[in-house]
Symmetry: C2
Subunit: 429 residues, 2 copies
């Protein structure tokens, strides 16, 4: 049988694992696809750094490789926007189906890439771009295709989850936990993409696009990282039976002018009884609420060469089968075309901890500020100590702008000596 | 646009929910499928019992309905072997794609049904047959198609999980917890299918077939129910940091004559730190271990009209899209054709609790029985009380036959006054 030929773009941790798995599972892949699957070439920048790859496969001419007549499928595991975008577009225009693990590119330019794939009648799959090995995009796209998804809440970045888990376990501050994560290899030398939430925001955009059949890009995602999370925040969370997680939250929000989509990435307190609270260390998990299906959770390894390669190979088998069948699969649709709602108008809940002077009427003063901004208080706890006291307040749901305006106003109240912790709260009933 | 016409077989809890969702989501389904989806008829036994269904759709002639020229797709939610099998085969032979929620039928006759579908060039999908709303079969079939699945361990029966959860919470015995479950509607009037593990065994057969690309039927599954689980078993489990769950375990087992597949359903102790241990009440969860992907877990509602209907509709969208595209999807393959291994030869681990006379040498006597059967002991705990003592033993892995022979032999040892608890242990490192 004529083999299907695959061009591999990039040969780092993930690419190397893809190469190895394709070789190891050759017989199984043949059985599953219906034809043998063969690596036709591997494009890298520095061929001399890849002694593990047969020399005749290596090339620096990525564009030449993806447009080669004998290449059927392209696997892109370079990452980043360029040259990945140009190469994928060139591959698509040359009639090749593409499997990518590139969250940044899909979150920025998914619409254009999908349009190109649809026009060329080829597949563009990217299960590996979100939550590594966890089968997630396919269930969202296909298994839940007959349902209405209301919310998707994910722990989709292992580095920040490791740091927050360690802060909770040891009482350490952010810097200390980050240093440990870097030393153990859980954080990169430049941790910005993870710590500042860029990685999670890209994944949030991809999840929201598929869940809500709407074009959501990374620019639509409100993004806050974990660098400002303090040991106090983590301790306060524990006091109210919560734990701090960096969440990517994608919601369908009703409004006067119809529904919209709100996507945000920020640290939040969630109850320890919530299924996501137990997701520790470098694991990922995504919680989905759908109209008919109810609550679902998907859990597994979110990163690493082998787990990510597993997701790439699942897609590779799918696009290869489609190629053998002579038809591309159904692409995602954006028919619902819901607009993105800015964070200011998105309903959220806050936990606020204040140091206040222990004088009569301070609670009334504070409560008045909340009321003035039309923010309703759910619970308040007051702990006196000497001439000072701590107020711990959890609000009901209100537009985020009203909540942040309340905090700004509280900072100006004379009886408030300090705002010691502010974090959003998710998953409380 | 010409609508795709669906014949619905059965209109109980699930069928009613399918009917409602198809109507409610008509616009979304049209957008997702590319053509409107319309119910062409509903076959029921007693039309007078379905005032909620438009009268012109109701028919008692199920065979006539599924073979009608204008019907494109068939949804079967009758359950049971006959008449479901004959109707599905008739539909397939008439060129209709079929979506089914029928675990008993798929577990008994999946091979023949798939062969018929392949021959006719139509789809046969059945996501709803295992773990209700949880997207599971599609991830196993497709997302993990490039990986090697080693183990699938599932809590796939909500009734037994509810009963065992209540036994753990209240200290109640099995009969008492079953009575409560029946009263609350979590158990059916005749709970045999759930309590004796038939339901879980059917699901285990379906999971193993897909995970290991081999034909596994319900008859290949070793099955033990939960009726013999005692309050003592549950208490003993807690003492060693475990909880008792009814598990469906599907494993790839190496052997001298090559690999085989071992599928078994039985109550087992699992550590409370295992992700499956926290799955309480009527929820389902399935834990998957794959070579490259590592550990994955899928969690959600395993039963109920709406959740099951969500899975049915996901399949309906998939087969409808395939119909619009003019091609059937890839069916599951059984190319690996691994033989089923009997429970006697399957490696398992036991927890055994013995009441023994507190005389010198009793531990040596007991240990000798284990050694005689080549069963290695992992841990042993001895609690003395008066002239008696309790021995709690956890074994290492050994062929199940050796373990059960050891237990039988221990019952004959004079110093052993009673074997108070025997349960398999899973998930210990």
């Amino acid at each position: 049988m004529n083999p299907l030929k695959v061009a591999l773009l990039g040969c780092g941790t993930v690419g190397g694992a893809v190469l190895r798995l394709v070789a190891e599972q050759a017989a199984d892949l043949t059985a599953r696809v219906g034809r043998p699957v063969e690596i036709a070439g591997v494009a890298v920048r520095r061929p001399d750094r890849h002694p593990e790859v047969p020399a005749h496969l290596l090339t620096t001419d990525a564009l030449g490789l993806v447009t080669r007549d004998d290449v059927d499928l392209v696997v892109e595991v370079i990452g980043g926007i360029e040259p990945a975008r140009s190469l994928i577009l060139a591959a698509i225009e040359a009639g090749k189906s593409v499997v990518s693990a590139n969250k940044a590119l899909l979150a920025e330019d998914g619409v254009a890439l999908h349009a190109a794939a649809a026009k060329a009648g080829v597949d563009l799959y990217y299960e590996a771009s979100v939550a590594g090995a966890i089968p997630l995009l396919r269930p969202l796209r296909e298994s839940l295709a007959g349902d209405q998804i209301r919310r998707v809440v994910g722990i989709v970045n292992g580095t920040t989850n490791y740091i927050l888990s360690r802060m909770a376990e040891t009482g350490a501050g952010f810097s200390e936990a980050l240093a440990e994560a870097t030393e153990l290899g859980y954080a990169e030398a430049d941790p910005t993409a993870d710590v500042d939430g860029f990685d999670a925001a890209a994944k949030g955009a991809i999840l929201a696009s598929l869940a809500f059949h709407s074009a959501v890009t990374a620019a639509d995602v409100h993004r806050e990282g974990i660098a400002s999370v303090t040991a106090t925040d983590v301790a306060r969370a524990a006091e109210i039976g919560c734990t701090v997680k960096l969440l990517a939250i994608c919601e369908r929000v009703p409004g006067e002018e119809g529904e919209s989509v709100a996507v945000r990435v920020h640290p939040a307190m969630i109850p320890t009884s919530h299924p996501l609270a137990a997701v520790g260390g470098a694991f990922n998990a995504v919680f989905v609420e759908a109209e008919a299906a109810g609550q679902l959770m998907f859990y597994g390894q979110g990163a690493g060469g082998e787990p990510t390669a597993s997701a790439v190979l699942g897609d590779l088998v799918a696009v290869a089968r489609n190629r053998v069948a002579g038809a591309a699969g159904a692409g995602p649709s954006a028919y619902a075309d819901l607009p993105a709602r800015p964070i200011a108008e998105t309903p959220t809940r806050y936990h606020v901890s204040l140091d206040v002077a222990d004088v009569p009427g301070v609670l009334a003063t504070v409560a008045t500020e909340f009321a003035r901004h039309e923010v309703s208080i759910a619970t308040v706890r007051q702990d006196g100590h000497g001439d000072a006291a701590t107020l711990v307040i959890v609000t009901h749901s209100a537009p985020d702008a009203a909540l942040s305006a309340t905090i700004a106003a509280l900072r100006e109240v004379p009886a408030v000596r300090g705002v010691t912790s502010v974090l959003r709260v998710e998953g409380l009933s």
